[in-house]
Symmetry: C2
Subunit: 133 residues, 2 copies
């Protein structure tokens, strides 16, 4: 199918998770730390983010398959196949992951964060303020 909108990556994640086997299943089960490097042309957009804050980060899962619509949730075959839209599987037609991460420190265009469940080298698509619960 034709691509209908194009993404511009705003940065890249530097972390210590090298393979999916080593990745926590979700951000709420992780205390892994890493750095969001935002490209200089987007740095101005970070203004107002503070250490101690929780941010919502969208990643482009560049290693994910896009042509699968049914998966075993969390890889557990005993629970049967489910539609990808009923899961948080990284496999989906548009492989965008949403993580809620804690900002540990900010240094110019680099944000040190914790809570990562994402592979080193993954492109960053967006950062948003968390909606207060």
């Amino acid at each position: 199918m034709a691509e209908q909108a194009g993404l511009h990556f705003i940065g890249v994640l530097h972390g210590d998770i090298a393979s999916r086997e080593d990745a926590p299943k979700n951000y709420d089960e992780s205390d892994r730390v890493g750095t969001l490097e935002i490209y200089p042309e987007y740095q101005e957009g970070l203004d107002g983010i503070e250490a101690g804050q929780t941010i919502v980060v969208l990643f482009w899962l560049h290693k994910s398959t896009r042509d699968v619509l049914k998966v075993y949730p969390r890889g557990d075959q005993s629970r049967g196949l489910r539609g990808v839209f009923a899961t948080r599987s990284p496999v989906r037609p548009n492989p965008i992951a949403i993580s809620e991460l804690q900002v540990l420190a900010i240094d110019g265009n680099r944000l040190e964060v914790s809570g990562l469940d994402i592979l080193d080298g993954t492109p960053i698509v967006d950062i948003k303020k968390q909606i207060s619960k």
Copy 2:
């Protein structure tokens, strides 16, 4: 800048919000209802979504400007400009919105939902399970 990844729209929103002036500021301030029409080739991915559930929906804000990095949060000029990544503004380099919506009913490839703050006709990019709080 070159586009670095391409999105395939999985469906389109049908609702009654025709302009940004008429849109609630956020999904947590909205009880507006509408229908997520998922294109038939992606319908299988809905398997497992149930009425009564809250889902996370990613929209592509096709009418948003992409070249602005500072905004007045919620349009309030008294608070000064902020970087878009410190806000939920629809204006951002990759205009993807995240909404948490309640599923009222499912009929094949159509999901009736409430909580909308998104314009009628907006393309849908992804649906995910909500992470339990």
